[in-house]
Amino acid sequence: MSAGPAVSLSGLDETLRSLRLVPDDARCFEVPWSSAERDYGLPPDVLRTMLAAGLGERSGFDHFDLLNVSLDLGVRSLWTFGPASWAKGLRAKAAVRAEVEFVPECAHEPDEGRECDFQVLLPTGWAPCPGGSAAARFELPASWPRPQPRAAELLAEFGRVRFVRLPMTVGLDLDFVERTGIADCTGGSLFLVREGRRRGLPIRLAQGVILSPPFSVLHYWAEIENDGVWVPHDPLIVGAMLRWGLLDPAEWDVLRSTGAILARVSGEMGPVGLDAGRPAGVSFATVVQTGSRG
């Protein structure tokens, strides 16, 4: 099998150190070597280094470990497509118009012998999906106000937290975030909102999608009210994109809003799709209209 293009290994040690902070019992070594190379774009020398660091077994690797190494090394794969697309979206100079089609997936067993009964959570509330999907349109400004000083202080502090994709059991553990200084968007946004509220700031949680046409992904971030406008803030992702070299540090810092690519659906952390009342996975087919994403 081809090893693929050469991958710069600078920063791999730091990535592996971060991943060692994740408890071993949260890992599931079920991705075989062949898939780790093909689907995550990781060459054999990287996989051997992971193995030597205890992040893998002869049988295979953990999905989240592979994903994080892939992201930090900047290899090209289906898993790293998203951040590159976010960076394109953030270069938009004009408002971004997006149509997101919410496509729910069956949540019942094939032998239950019944039809799906879907609902999806749109910005306007729960909506039925008689045709199998429902769409929402968003118009997202390209530029947003800078934060007030106290909010800026919070964002700058939180911006030092390192973004790491985590298994859900770990990602939602706010003590883990505080103890390790690493977080994903779930625990990170909850932590930021909790800390902001503790300081008396007007801050709220947002659940929605981070735009990456043709398919966006579910995401969480914080919004801070500024002169009557709820401004989306995602310092975790900005910090990661700066680390990955996807944003220009001359133009970007963790205080700057990424609202051009954040489409809010609700203020709760919960399912966005239901099948006969059961939580259902949802994919977000996305078309973006702007002439300046390239």
């Binding site: 093909r38 090209r76 497509f81 043709p214 078309v287 973006v288 994403r293």
Partner: protein, 99 residues
Amino acid sequence: MNAVPAKAVHGNERTHVERRVRDLLARRAVLPGVIESVDAEADLWELGMESLAMVGVMVAVEDEFGIEFPDELLTRETFRSLSVITDAVMSLTQEEDRP
């Protein structure tokens, strides 16, 4: 003198691109056991292709042909069938061939 009509050359090229797309999807394990022989017009979504797999297809096709899908082609429709993917690849490679 060119003995092969231009239309036939175009047809051969299309067949070649379509075969490369099909082989690529097979190597990426997209719809294994199906993609190898499925009709070029068959709807890959109806056959069970998932959104994540489609993103993998998109990245792999860009790498294979040295192209980048513009925003207007980043839709589910572009990846509906081998035939539509082939159309997109041919339109983008022909664009890049222009001076």
